[in-house]
């Protein structure tokens, strides 16, 4: 078998750079190394031209105007800039932000920070399938609400929120709508006009571009949105984000967006077919469950809990050969199981038993075959070793046991 190991199925964490992206970037390290802000020589002009071109490539992918693209260091910075920037800029209008419990930490922790600065934040719960309730969203709006911050596609379960319905509600109440679309841009069609998005964060390294570069879309018309800069300096990016432009990174992000623009439709079809094959094969195992809505979902993601086996123990069975991620506490720094899975109402036991598969541009059918085989074998092996599986098979209700919590 010509299968090359290890296999990478953690594309929600990061994606490899597409070689075509790297090729586009390379000249900007050595020959065309100029500072895009140097207005009086050809090195600066070359750099500026490259940044302008990348801005067009990025804008085109999301149907924005190039002037609406603010380059940043990545989605975390974009999230911070959007949330804190709107909070500061619109202080006279209100101090209330609405978000959801399944957001990325870059949004949740920024919201926590805003609360300390005198903001008030509503964290909407989600249903068992991971979707927010639109009525609940609308009911949460007060006359102090300035921003709704709901992600496009979730990083752990891939669930896509009803973005158009959310933006319609925001519009109706004169509230801005920000979405962290880090997992969605380049994977599914994202259109800031049709979707009614006012601010949007995304990142290069989730779409086969380089790490350390991302963007914040900031609407300029209907309404004109402004954010207060979070870094003081030379007033780059229309004064919203100071700092010398990361020209090679920006060129890479632009190229990555262009490739996604051209290839996304076919890629999504190919990946969702592969993902469904993987998922259906793994669901043949008893007591395995998909986490999150299966219909409103990114095409390349699936998250499955294998009851009665623990995620980290499970991954150890194949992690020399297959790279993926788990909601198990043992795999995170916090020793807490995934808060996203818990927000779906999953018990900690099921959250501990979950694996997240993130397929990508370079995933092959052969890799999926191998993964199915390895995971099935390991789940069965670990269940033979699991006291919980034995109890389940004997018909013992695990909830009837008084566990020693520690």
């Amino acid at each position: 078998m010509s299968l090359k190991l290890p296999i990478y199925l953690d594309n929600n964490a990061t994606t490899p750079c597409d070689p075509r992206v790297v090729d586009a970037m390379l000249p900007y390290f050595t020959e065309k190394f100029g500072n895009a802000a140097s207005r009086n020589h050809s090195f600066g002009w070359d750099a500026e031209e490259a940044v302008d071109y990348a801005r067009e490539q990025v804008a085109k992918l999301i149907n924005a105007d190039p002037k609406e693209i603010i380059f940043t260091s990545g989605a975390t910075e974009s999230d911070n800039l959007a949330l804190k920037g709107v909070f500061e800029m619109y202080q006279s209008k209100g101090n209330h932000i609405i978000t959801a419990t399944t957001e990325h930490k870059a949004v949740l922790d920024t919201c926590k920070h805003i609360e300390k600065m005198g903001g008030s934040v509503t964290y909407l719960p989600v249903a068992a399938d991971g979707l927010i309730d639109l009525k609940e969203l609308e009911n949460a709006i007060t006359d102090k609400t300035i921003l709704i911050a709901i992600m496009y596609g979730n990083n752990e379960i891939g669930v896509i929120q009803p973005v158009r319905e959310i933006s319609a509600i925001a519009r109706k109440h004169g509230v801005l709508f920000f979405t962290d679309a880090t997992q969605a841009v380049g994977k599914v069609p994202v259109d800031v006009q049709a979707d009614g998005i006012d601010l949007m964060a995304f990142s290069g390294h989730k779409m086969y571009g380089p790490k350390g570069v991302g963007a914040l879309y900031v609407r300029r018309k209907n309404p004109r949105v402004k954010v207060t800069a979070q870094m003081d300096g030379g007033g780059h990016e229309r004064g919203m984000r100071s700092g010398t432009m990361n020209v090679p990174g920006i060129v890479g992000l632009g190229k990555a967006c262009e490739l996604c623009m051209n290839e996304m439709a076919d890629e999504a079809k190919r990946l969702s077919k592969m993902r469904d094959r993987l998922e259906n094969a793994l669901l043949e195992l008893e007591e395995s469950y998909v986490n999150g809505n299966r219909e409103h979902r990114l095409p390349h993601v699936c998250n499955i809990s294998f009851k009665y086996v623990e995620g980290e123990g499970l991954m150890m069975g194949f992690n020399k050969n297959i790279a993926l991620s788990s909601g198990s506490a043992c795999t995170s720094a916090s020793l807490e199981p995934s808060y996203v899975l818990k927000a779906l109402g999953l018990g900690d036991d099921l959250a501990h038993s979950s694996l997240r598969f993130g397929l990508g541009r370079f995933t092959t059918d052969e890799q999926i075959d191998y993964t199915i085989e390895q995971i099935k074998t390991t789940v069965l092996k670990l269940r033979e070793m699991s006291p919980l599986w034995e109890m389940y098979k004997e018909g013992i209700d695990l909830n009837s046991i008084e566990w020693a919590h520690h």
């Binding site: 150890m316 198990s328 699991s386 566990w403 020693a404």
Partner: protein, 138 residues
């Protein structure tokens, strides 16, 4: 996080996985941990009543690789020891033998708890007083 070779070895070739008949008078069963915490260990000992020596030990564990390795190692160490000798097994011995990193020390504590719980079950079954166990922090 990289695992030590010994953890990998116990995980790949676990010793003494299985179930003893918990109804038997000379079998002690310890079930510790909780599914919500991500680890549950069941450890069982079978005691030769004439000699007081542990003649067999089995485990089943729901947990990470270190939890599986800790319980596998514990069963190996238990076999051939008297019940009193078994009580002397300290979690830090397991940490040392398996090279567990600090975040995995709780796996060894759980294994020690499982040993003591199994011994207590055996003692109570045989008309002895349960030992009061000192609480270790997991």
């Amino acid at each position: 996080m990289a695992y030590s070779d010994k953890v990998i070895d116990h995980y790949s070739n676990p010793k003494n996985v299985g179930t003893l008949d918990k109804a038997k008078q000379n079998v002690g069963t310890g079930l510790v941990g909780a599914p919500e915490c991500g680890d549950v260990m069941r450890l069982q000992i079978e005691v030769d009543e004439a000699t007081g020596v542990i003649s067999d030990a089995k485990f089943k564990t729901f947990g990470c690789g270190s939890a599986i390795a800790s319980s596998s190692l514990a069963t190996e160490w238990l076999k051939g020891k008297t019940v009193d000798q078994a009580l002397a097994i300290d979690n830090m011995d397991i940490v040392e033998e398996l090279n567990l990193p600090p975040v995995k020390i709780h796996c060894s504590v759980l294994a020690e708890d499982a040993i003591k719980a199994a011994i207590n079950d055996y003692r109570v079954k045989n008309g002895l007083e349960a030992l009061v166990l000192d609480e270790k922090k997991h």
